[in-house]
Symmetry: C2
Subunit: 190 residues, 2 copies
């Protein structure tokens, strides 16, 4: 009856944190319990005990990744409180372009692709959720009247597309200058 994922214990949070750092480095694709356990000083037995199954562990890791995303979302929302859409986009791009975030963003993309490939797997809904979350964030930076119009929806969808499209380019080429210039070019037209 035990051995499932109830309220997270202290040990569970600690191991999740270490596993998360491991996954950000190595990706989700060929994640395997034995190498992971060895790297973070644990054992498959314990991971299975704490998270119920490998699937449960992956779910926990993904939700941990979303926590990172949320943390930035909140920070970005407060920093540019009252700012217009352009300033939110600019602040977001600055965060995306920072080198230390690169592995995290690669993991994010992997989870995104995963949730599309296997809609019923451990990463189900991941892609859909991030789209909704970010659109909601951008909506808050729009004037309330404009926000509810179709054109307002198109405007923030476009803003999100520019950010994510440029991110795809950045992750593949590493070309900060060109991708930043593209984002700036988008922003310099009202």
């Amino acid at each position: 009856m035990s051995e499932s994922a109830r309220a997270p214990s202290a040990r569970q949070e600690e191991l999740l944190e270490r596993a998360y750092r491991y996954v950000v480095e190595h990706g989700l694709g060929d994640l395997s319990l034995r190498p992971l356990a060895a790297a973070i000083g644990s054992s498959p037995r314990v991971l299975l005990f704490l998270f119920g199954s490998k699937d449960g562990l992956v779910r926990a890791l993904l939700s941990r990744a979303r926590a990172d995303e949320f943390a930035f979302l909140d920070r970005s929302l407060h920093e540019s409180a009252g700012g217009d859409l352009a300033s939110v986009v600019r602040a977001t791009w600055e965060w995306l372009v920072a080198e230390p975030h690169r592995p995290l963003l690669t993991l994010w993309l992997e989870a995104y692709a995963r949730s599309l490939t296997q809609p019923d797997g451990s990463s189900a809904g991941f892609a859909r959720q991030t789209v909704d979350d970010w659109l909601a964030l951008l909506a808050r930076a729009q004037p309330p009247a404009w926000r509810d119009s179709d054109e307002g929806a198109a405007e923030r969808t476009l803003a999100l597309s520019v950010l994510r499209g440029a991110l795809l380019d950045l992750l593949a080429t590493g070309d900060v200058e060109r991708t930043t210039a593209a984002v700036e070019r988008h922003l310099r037209r009202p």
Copy 2:
């Protein structure tokens, strides 16, 4: 000495074609020789004989996928020959948004993420190559003088970002109207 991937034989092309159709449906992530072979009326032995290894097969599949991409690239280039950047982008989006292409584009995204996660794996360079190919296509739709400037590079990088960002949104939400409106919104400003 034999059993490697030399000049593609007739049988090899036939099986590659069937395997490709299988992979477009099932993804690359948990591709496995025995189920694949069973589905396309072959055997692991034969696939290994014809492609040398599973890695060789995956490489062949990815290059087959790129052939699909190239086919569209060429068609798009001829159809809108002499057209401006906006018309090329519009034609491309029409192709991306067509329902039958959805599984292919999901596979494309999976390969893209793969090549970022494991830069030395079977899909090495995939992301980088598609970015370069598409940027080159868009460049041909720009006036020769403008094309070589930094602003020209930023303009086509932005165009590509809009297309791929909107594609990410489309694949996750399936919302054709909103994503199309976003692309159109981008196009309606010179």
